[in-house]
Symmetry: C2
Subunit: 145 residues, 2 copies
DNA sequence: GGTGAGCTCAAGGTTAACTTTAACCTTCGG
DNA sequence: CCGAAGGTTAAAGTTAACCTTGAGCTCACC
């Protein structure tokens, strides 16, 4: 099948499919005599797997190392390990989310229970001073490569 | 206090603090005669608030609209609304995470329960065919601006 | 044989949140 | 008086995951 059909059937933009190929993530592709890409049925499965895995928090980089040449060559051990690691990741994230939520709710409560007779400035100070009593938590945003 | 001290006390890189100022997020700053930045105590509080809020999922853009001129001028209504909206966001994310986790666990189970007498290729097919029976879920990654 | 849809490629653009670099002041301790 | 430590700026670089653009094939149909 050509790229347009594959795009239709997976719901992905053609540019995205080409992009996946360019980074070595999708190797299930041949060329017709005219230069057009030609995909086998399996490609639909694999692309769906990729987007699903992505939603589970896998980066394209991770996926590239997990889905090597053709999918009949999966390394079960490595795969299982990674899947389990990702479950751990999700659980950690769940933890952090729950924390953030608690934090936010406490903050909302704090603001709502404003004595109503004190001014904004004082209230702001009161609220601010109640925040950040939690742990420092060394910035998890960008790792230092 | 100068930027170095502020950086120390907040644990942020000085470049980051300057960056926040450049995007109009941190306005609590004056200049000394020599051109050096000079911060009041409050700046520590505000920066901590910013990083905490960031961890709760607020973008710098959102924070800029939430923390206007000086923090004694908070708009309680708007603020509360936004906080509550963010709690909703977190809950939605929790939902999706739980889903992903369920998905992953099912997948792990599926792979582990491999009959052990069938080969990789067949197993791969079997596993793949069991996936993506869930809903399509139109790609939540990048909104079309 | 023309035209419009679909394909190709390379290259540059986008977004968020910073960091890095380079070139140049200022302050402090010895 | 010198050098190191710390400040300033503007501009460019980084990362992930794509999208857009432009110029040029190719194919199917009338």
């Amino acid at each position: 099948m050509k790229i347009g059909e594959l795009a239709q059937r997976t719901g992905l933009a053609a540019s995205r499919i080409r992009f996946y190929e360019s980074i070595g993530l999708l190797k299930l592709v041949e060329r017709q005599a005219n230069g057009y890409r030609s995909y086998p049925e399996q490609a639909v499965l694999v692309l769906n797997l990729i987007t699903t895995a992505q939603q589970a928090g896998f980066s394209l980089d991770e996926l590239r190392t997990l889905l090597p040449q053709d999918l009949s060559q999966w390394e079960h051990g490595k795969l299982l390990d990674t899947l389990q690691a990702k479950v751990k990741d999700i659980e950690a994230l769940e933890q952090r989310l729950a924390q953030s939520k608690t934090h936010l709710l406490a903050l909302i409560d704090e603001i709502e229970s404003k004595p109503d007779d004190i001014d904004c400035a004082s209230n702001a100070k009161r609220v601010l001073s109640k925040m950040n009593l939690s742990e420092p938590s060394e910035t998890p945003k960008r790792a230092k490569k």
